[in-house]
Structure formats: structure tokens, C-alpha cells
Amino acid sequence: MIRAVVVDDEALARDELVALLREVGGVEVVASCANAVEALPAVRKERPDVLFLDVQMPAISGFELLAMLDPDTLPRVVFVTAHDEFAVKAFEQNASDYLLKPVERARLARTLERLGHNGGGSPGALAARAITRIPCLGPRSIRLVDVAEVESVRSSEAGVYVVTPAGEHFTELTLRVLEERAGLFRCHKQHLVNVDRVAEILLGDEEGAAIRTRSGGTVPVSRRFLSALKERLGLSWAKP
């Protein structure tokens, strides 16, 4: 049984795809999401084998969502869209397959067959795509935080929090994704810092150091990342 998550902003389109998958068989739809923000936790929680992903979605497109998923848990991706103008781009993103709406049952069956054949295989390296906005979930709202506004990111038992001068925001993205795709610097096992927002480095005891950010926050720096940080900052100071 292939475990699938369906992401599409149109309810009827989701229903249609779920119905088609049921008809073709061999697939269990474990989650059905209306946008990228819903999809992020669903993918993390369900760890599906395949993600059926609409390209044009509100706020965060299918391509952007792909960049936000942790490469460790990345499922195979099948893009589903109304028009083929994105086809080339989809394959640049190493999508496994590409379906056009309205979806043909026989075409979907072929897709699933192919997925079943190399279902255990790795999804392959994704072309690196920069994240410029980080979707953050508030109690009643969803906020897209610009990476340039971020001072640091911390991870705790409760989850990953993006720290900005205006406050902290919970995000579904992992530290690794943010480090690799958003250009944030790893200064501690549980912390990232935005190098552009560093005000000063306070060198402490042998435990390591601390960074003061422009808005006055502190971010711990562990010993093993200190020299890399100095080098990074040194470099950035060298070229104003």
C-alpha cells in the first residue's frame, strides 16, 4: 500500500483525486490538505511515500512547499496542475511525475505503477531552492516571515521557533531546512543565526560564546561552531 498526501487548494479537485486514487487502488490517502501550511505538519506526521501536489496554491506554491520539506523525510512528489506551463520546472525540481487536470484514470494508474516499482528508492537530491519566506503558525493566523527579518531560530522540545525583533513564531520547518535553504548560520546544535543581524560576539568561558543580535537578543554559540562563525563574520567584514 502506497501512503499518499494530497495537497490542493480546491476542495473538489482534492475530492476528485482522492476518488481516482481509490478507484485505481493500492493507495491509502493519509491526509488531504488545502494549502502548504496544512501540508507541512501532515507530511512530517504521516511520513507519506508520495505527495500529490498542486502547483498554484495560495500564499505558498507547490514548488515553495517542496523546498520547505526536510530532505530526510522527503516523499516522492507528483505535481498535479491544470496547465503544462510548469512541466519543465517540475522536472527541474526532480518530481517523480507530473499529472494534468482533469486527471485521466489510466494516466494516474501508470504513475502509481512507476512509483510502486521503485517505491523503496530514494527521492533523489532536490535542486536547491532558496526559501525567502518562512510560514509560521500563530494561534489564529498564518504569517509568512521574510528571512531578512529573522534574527535567529531556536529549536526546543516544543518545536522550532523563528525569532524576529517583533517576537517569536512557531514554524513547521526544521533547522536543517532553514540552514540549508534559507541561508541561516548554524551556531549551536539547537540554534541558527542570521549573520546579517549579528551586532557583536561576546566571548565567554570554555563553554563557547554568545551572539548579541541587533535587537538585543542573545544566541548561544557552541565551541565547535565558533571558528566557522568567526570565519564567516570575518569574511563578511572583509568585504563591506
Binding site: A82, K101, P102
Partner: protein, 562 residues
């Protein structure tokens, strides 16, 4: 005193003879000159005419003892300078002066010198007026009289100084001086008045013909708005004939006669081939061709009984290419005046300007339509396939509703195929948008609310077709489909003071200054409204980020139906 008065009366009486002659000749076309004065052959004519008048001044003078002549020569010499400048004045003065010398007498040298001097002074007055007041200015009667009094005083000085043979030159000057000064000053003043009068007449006629050309142009404006359209030309020719009062009017394109109105229409048929070499010359050279009926006759190549004798052919050109001609004919014994000629030329350039404007409008309209088609083509595939996908989904659960959706889709595309150049009523526009909204509501059922609020008295308002749909589509694309939560779209049509406001609003507030094809869609809507109702109307966008984007279309409130 008695002698003074009798001399004065005699001189004035003599002068009135050629005064009358001058008045008549001043009306004759033969002595007509432009504001820059006589040129070429006309100049010779002027010389002969004024030399004649001046010499006559000697003959009509009063013979006094010792070969002294009390005369009015000054008038002709002075006036020739006024109308022809210093050179003509010099020529006339020298001719009449030489003649005076030939007549002989004790004051011949003084008189000859004075006449030459007066011709030159008259010319200098004209030259000075041209410098200070512009070309074509003639001196008024006061100036004419003043200058003449001065030069005649000098003339008397000459008599005293250069008449050694005369026994008492001082006495001669005393006797002939006052009456000659007065008579010549009066004569020049009268000439100045007549010339001024004549000039005003000509200006009046010119102003009339300009007004006539403009009136003609205004009447043909609508007819030529769609270009040089053969079907409209007979009407254009009729208007030109009516306004110019010409014998006949003909319009051609570059190869054939398209319309002919007036005398000779029995054998000048339209449409027909171009047969006159005058027409061909105008088309080839792009210049006005004029057969004035005097030196050149319009010899009709078709019929020998043709009443038409003179013709003015003005080429109509567009972007430097002659596309046709306007021809104005007059019958025999009914020649063109030069004023009529300038009317013909003015008319041709006004009509050319109208044709240029028509072509520009047409090109602009075509471009807009092309762009619009492009935008429509860009918009459709996504909408179409998503709509079909939605229908496929609905078909599973509610075939009847799916059928309804397909009908809406058909209605939408049917309206999309309509010629984009056409006008549509607000009702039709709302139907088009309505079909679109039905599909979108099905697609985003859980997230989309549409509110429509339309003043029903405005449903017959005329708009360019495809005004509303691109704006509503934009509201979706840039507004609602960007927010994660539910959204509301509002379409409102209401009256303002003297205007109609059509507002399309979404509550996403995600409007960004569009730089791509979507921006083109909005610009097109704006452009087409401005083309239709004028530059003061069209689109305005207001955006409160995160709250609201409102696109407002302003058009004038149509006149209330009677």
C-alpha cells in the same frame, strides 16, 4: 488768398480724375499683390501704372509763368513707394522726374529732384513700417499726409535753391507752395484710405474662406473618421461643393475618380479612370496644381462641351504618400480668385489631417484588440482546465449540478469569443462575469463569498466589451487565491454625481503594482475606456495591504433617456 484757393481747387479737381481711376484699378485683380508687395511682372506693371499717374500729375497741373507747374506729382511717387518699397519709388520718381525735366521750365530741376526724393521717401516709409509693424502694413492717412507735407516743404526749398533761371523763385514758392502742399497731402491721404480699405476687404474675405474651410472640415470629420472610404466620398464632395460654392468638386484616389459632384457630372463619372494630366501631375509631384482659366485652361479630355474651365487640384497625403486628390472646378467666365485658391489648399491639408487621425485611431484600435486577444489567450487555459476538473469532480456526486456548471462554462466561452471591439451593455458584462463567478464559486466553494450590488437603472450602460471580466479575474488571481483563509469579492455598480462607479473589491489587499501580463490586462481595460469616453475617465486602484483592494471604473453617467 484768391489765388491760393483757385490753385487748390484746380489741383484737387485734377487729382480727383486719377483718384477715381486708382479706386477702380485697386479692385482689379491685375494689381493684386501679397503682403510682401509686388514681385516680378507685377512689379513692372506697378511701375508703369504709377509712373503714368505721376506723369499725369504733371500734365494735369496748372501752368504758371516761366514754365512753373503747380502739380500733384508727389501723390503718384509717394504712393508707389508705399505699395512697392524704395526701389519702385525710385523707379517711378526717376521716370516722372525725367519727364518733368523734358517738359522744361525754370523749376524743372527742382520738381524732378523732388519727385525722385518723394518716391524714395515713400518707399522708406514702407520699409520702416515693415521693420516695426510687420509685412504688408500700409501707412494710414495721417502718416501719409504728414510725410507728404514734409517732402513738399523740401520741394519748395528745392524750388528756391535750384531755380537760378527764375526771376523770383521765392515768390514762386510762396504762390504754389501752400496749395501744392495741401492738395498733395490730401491726395496721398485719400490713396492711403483707399488702400487700407481694400486691404481690410481682402482680409475679411480671407477670414471668411478660413472659416469656410474649417466649417467644411468639421462637416466631413465624421465621414472621414473611418478613412478614405469610397462609400462616404460623394457626401464629402457634396459638402465641399456646398461650402466653397464651386462649380464642381471631384475626389479621387491615386488611380481613379471616386466621387464627382456638380457641373459636368454627365460625362465626369464616378467611379471612373483618371484622365486629366493635371490630376496625374498632382499625384506624381504631391503639389497643388492650378489651371486658373486664364493662362492655363482645364481642357476637359472627355467632352468638348464641358463647361469647366479652371481647376484647383490639391493632393491628399498620408505619411508623405499621396493617396488621392481634392479637385475644385469653376466653369468658364467664373474664375478662381486667389482667395478661393487658398481655401482649396487649406481644405486639402485639413482633410489630410483628418485621414491621418482616422488611420491613427484605426491602428490604435487594432493594437488594443490584438493585445486584448493576447491577454484573453493567456488567461484561458488555467481557468478552462481547472473548470473542467471541477465539473469532473461534481459529476460524481451531482450530475445535474455538473450540467449546470458546463452550461455556465459554455456561456462564458461564448461571450469570450465575441468581437472584442464591440460595445456591451452592463447587463451583458455582468452576465459574462456571472458565468465566470459560477465556476469560481464551485471551485472555491468553501472559501469564496461573492456579493453583487448593482443599481438596476444602470443595466443598459454601454461599456467596451470585456471591461468587467479581466478586473474580476484579477481580483481572484491577486486577491483571493493568495490568502489562505476565506475571502469575499464584491461587485458594486452605483451612481455618483454625473458619473457611474463600478467597483470590484476583494478583501485580500494583496495588490502589487503589476508589471506583467496581468498589468497589461488592467491597462487595456483603462485604455479602452479612455478611448471610448475620454481621458478623464477610467481605472483607479486603491489598496489597504492585508485588508482590501478596490478597483474603481469611472465612466460618465449617460444622459437620461427622453
Amino acid at each position: 488768398m484768391g489765388l491760393f484757393l483757385s490753385l487748390l481747387y484746380s489741383l484737387v479737381g485734377a487729382m480727383s480724375a486719377f483718384m477715381a481711376l486708382f479706386y477702380v484699378l485697386s479692385r482689379a485683380r491685375i494689381l493684386e499683390a501679397g503682403p510682401e508687395g509686388p514681385r516680378g511682372p507685377t512689379l513692372v506693371l506697378y511701375w508703369i501704372f504709377f509712373a503714368g499717374i505721376t506723369i499725369t500729375g504733371s500734365y494735369l497741373g496748372i501752368q504758371l509763368p516761366d514754365g512753373v507747374i503747380a502739380n500733384t506729382r508727389a501723390v503718384g511717387a509717394m504712393v508707389s513707394g508705399f505699395v512697392g518699397g524704395p526701389w519702385l519709388g525710385l523707379a517711378v520718381g526717376a521716370t516722372a522726374g525725367a519727364h518733368r525735366l523734358w517738359l522744361g521750365g525754370t523749376t524743372a530741376v527742382a520738381g524732378a529732384l523732388a519727385t525722385v526724393m518723394e518716391g524714395v521717401v515713400g518707399g522708406l516709409v514702407r520699409w520702416w513700417l515693415e521693420r516695426t509693424e510687420g509685412a504688408g502694413r500700409l501707412p494710414g492717412w495721417r502718416l501719409g499726409a504728414g510725410v507728404t507735407i514734409a517732402t513738399e516743404l523740401v520741394h519748395m526749398g528745392f524750388v528756391v535753391l535750384f531755380s537760378p533761371a527764375n526771376p523770383d523763385p521765392l515768390r514762386v514758392a510762396e504762390v504754389i507752395g501752400p496749395p501744392m502742399i495741401m492738395a498733395n497731402a490730401m491726395g496721398v491721404a485719400l490713396f492711403a484710405l483707399v488702400m487700407r480699405d481694400r486691404q481690410r476687404d481682402r482680409e475679411q474675405v480671407q477670414a471668411d474662406s478660413s472659416a469656410r474651410a474649417l466649417r467644411t472640415a468639421r462637416r466631413t470629420l465624421g465621414l472621414l473618421a473611418r478613412g478614405y472610404d469610397a462609400a462616404r466620398l460623394p457626401e464629402v464632395a457634396r459638402i465641399i461643393k456646398e461650402e466653397t460654392g464651386a462649380g464642381a468638386v471631384c475626389l479621387t484616389d491615386a488611380s481613379q475618380v471616386l466621387a464627382f459632384e456638380g457641373l459636368g457630372a454627365d460625362h465626369h463619372r464616378a467611379p471612373g479612370p483618371i484622365v486629366s494630366h493635371y490630376t496625374r501631375r498632382a499625384i506624381e509631384t504631391g503639389e497643388v496644381v492650378f489651371a486658373d482659366g486664364r493662362t492655363e485652361h482645364y481642357n476637359c479630355p472627355i467632352s468638348r462641351d464641358c463647361p469647366l474651365d479652371s481647376v484647383l487640384i490639391a493632393p491628399l497625403s498620408l505619411d508623405g504618400v499621396v493617396i488621392g486628390t481634392v479637385q475644385v472646378f469653376e466653369p468658364r467666365h467664373h474664375r478662381f480668385s486667389s482667395v478661393n485658391r487658398s481655401l482649396g489648399e487649406g481644405l486639402a491639408s485639413l482633410l489630410s489631417a483628418q485621414l491621418l487621425a482616422a488611420r491613427y485611431q484605426e491602428a490604435k484600435g487594432l493594437l488594443t484588440e490584438q493585445e486584448l486577444k493576447l491577454v484573453q489567450a493567456q488567461v484561458n487555459p488555467h481557468f478552462l482546465f481547472n473548470a473542467l476538473n471541477t465539473v469532473a469532480a461534481v459529476l460524481r456526486v451531482d450530475p445535474e449540478r455538473a450540467r449546470g456548471l458546463l452550461l455556465h462554462l459554455a456561456a462564458f466561452f461564448r461571450k469570450n469569443l465575441k468581437r472584442p471591439a464591440a460595445l456591451a451593455t452592463l447587463r451583458e458584462e455582468l452576465e459574462h462575469v456571472g458565468a465566470y463567478l459560477e465556476i469560481e464559486k464551485a471551485r472555491f466553494a468553501d472559501r469564496l463569498t461573492v456579493e453583487t450590488e448593482v443599481d438596476p437603472t444602470l443595466l443598459d450602460l454601454k461599456l467596451p466589451a470585456f471591461t468587467l471580466q479581466p478586473l474580476v479575474e484579477n481580483a481572484f488571481k491577486h486577491g483571493l487565491s493568495r490568502t489562505l483563509g476565506p475571502g469575499t469579492a464584491r461587485i458594486r455598480v452605483r451612481r455618483g454625481p454625473g458619473e457611474v462607479l463600478i467597483e470590484i473589491e476583494d478583501d485580500a489587499g494583496a495588490y502589487l503594482e503589476p508589471a506583467n501580463a496581468d498589468g497589461l490586462g488592467m491597462r487595456l481595460v483603462d485604455k479602452r475606456i479612455k478611448n471610448l469616453v475620454g481621458p478623464g475617465w477610467g481605472l483607479a486602484v486603491a489598496c489597504v495591504p492585508g485588508e482590501l483592494t478596490r478597483v474603481t471604473v469611472r465612466v460618465p453617467l449617460p444622459e437620461a433617456p427622453a
